[in-house]
């Protein structure tokens, strides 16, 4: 927080118009989101000589990050 500006706000007469101007000037268009290009969960890096997931006995149908899949908005 800029302390100098904090003092200015406190020292000034605050009006409804002043608040409206501040709020209005923070109304700035946000970028449009694009459909996620490549999910990190979908990226599989295979080293040379390593078998492909489909060739292993592992359960490839199980998501690698099961917790995140089950809880779409977790940390």
């Amino acid at each position: 927080m800029n302390r100098k500006q904090t003092r200015i706000v406190i020292g000034a007469a605050i009006s409804a118009a002043a608040i409206a101007v501040v709020v209005d000037h923070t109304r700035q268009r946000l970028p449009e989101p694009e459909k996620q290009l490549a999910s990190q969960q979908a990226v599989i890096i295979i080293d040379e000589g390593e078998e492909l997931p489909a060739e292993s006995d592992a359960d490839c149908g199980k998501p690698t990050a099961a917790g995140r899949q089950a809880s779409p908005c977790s940390l």
Binding site: R3, T6, A16, S71, S74
Partner: protein, 228 residues
């Protein structure tokens, strides 16, 4: 600390409204807002991706948030995306507090509470939310987005307490037979409560016609923080 909805303006609300207005003045001078600042360094905003991916720490490291946009799910008709806010309740456990819907111009639309399975982690009791607010101070000059989130949490503390109370009451309706754990994991229960945000009118309510003693108290509090 009791919820403050519907009561006279408290000095703490005046103090935090002043802090938030000051911060917004700085953003306004740069023709920006909290979400634009958060997304300043990214190339392309993508749905489902978290910004920042590891979460933004604020409140002395006891609060954490990220912003994201869903492709198919929207919590509000005018929503561009939303923040999810978490707080550290100890033992490295982060409890979800609330979501914060943002419109296409970076303005807060509403708080919302979702079911536990949506965000995972421990369930945050209402009273714990108020206790966790103590970590949010005005000493995060280098973190304007975190300061903005912290300021919003502080000026909306009463509304948020009510939101979490409504969340719990709603959940009780689904778990009358005592099956709370089952309800918390029920995939058919997603959104539990919402609370509209009228930022401009809230600031006006907290800052206009301030009684002299309240303004003096805010000044004293502000000076105390400066000397920290």
């Amino acid at each position: 600390m009791p919820a403050q909805t519907g009561k006279a303006v408290e000095p703490v609300e005046t103090y935090w409204s002043l802090q938030l207005l000051s911060l917004m003045q700085e953003m306004a001078a740069e023709s920006s807002n909290a979400v634009l600042m958060l997304l300043a360094d990214i190339g392309q905003l993508e749905t489902e991706r978290r910004y920042p991916d590891a979460g933004l720490l604020f409140g002395g490291g006891h609060w954490r948030a990220y912003y994201h946009c869903h492709e198919a799910v929207s919590m509000h008709a005018s929503e561009h995306g939303h923040f999810h806010l978490f707080t550290d309740i100890g033992d490295r456990a982060w409890a979800h507090v609330a979501g914060l819907s943002i419109d296409a111009e970076g303005q807060p639309l509403q708080w919302f509470a979702v079911n536990r399975w949506v965000t995972d982690g421990p369930w945050l009791p209402c009273q714990s939310f108020l206790e966790q607010l103590r970590f949010i101070t005005a000493n995060e000059a280098a973190n304007p987005v975190g300061s903005w989130l912290g300021g919003l949490l502080q000026i909306c503390r009463g509304d948020l307490f009510d939101l979490l109370s409504a969340r719990d009451q709603r959940l009780e309706q689904f778990s009358k037979k005592g099956a709370l754990a089952e309800a918390l994991e029920n995939r058919e229960i997603y959104l539990l409560a919402t609370s509209a945000i009228e930022l401009q009118s809230t600031l006006e309510k907290h800052l206009l016609c301030i009684p002299a003693d309240v303004l003096a108290s805010a000044r004293i509090n502000n000076n105390e923080h400066k000397s920290d």
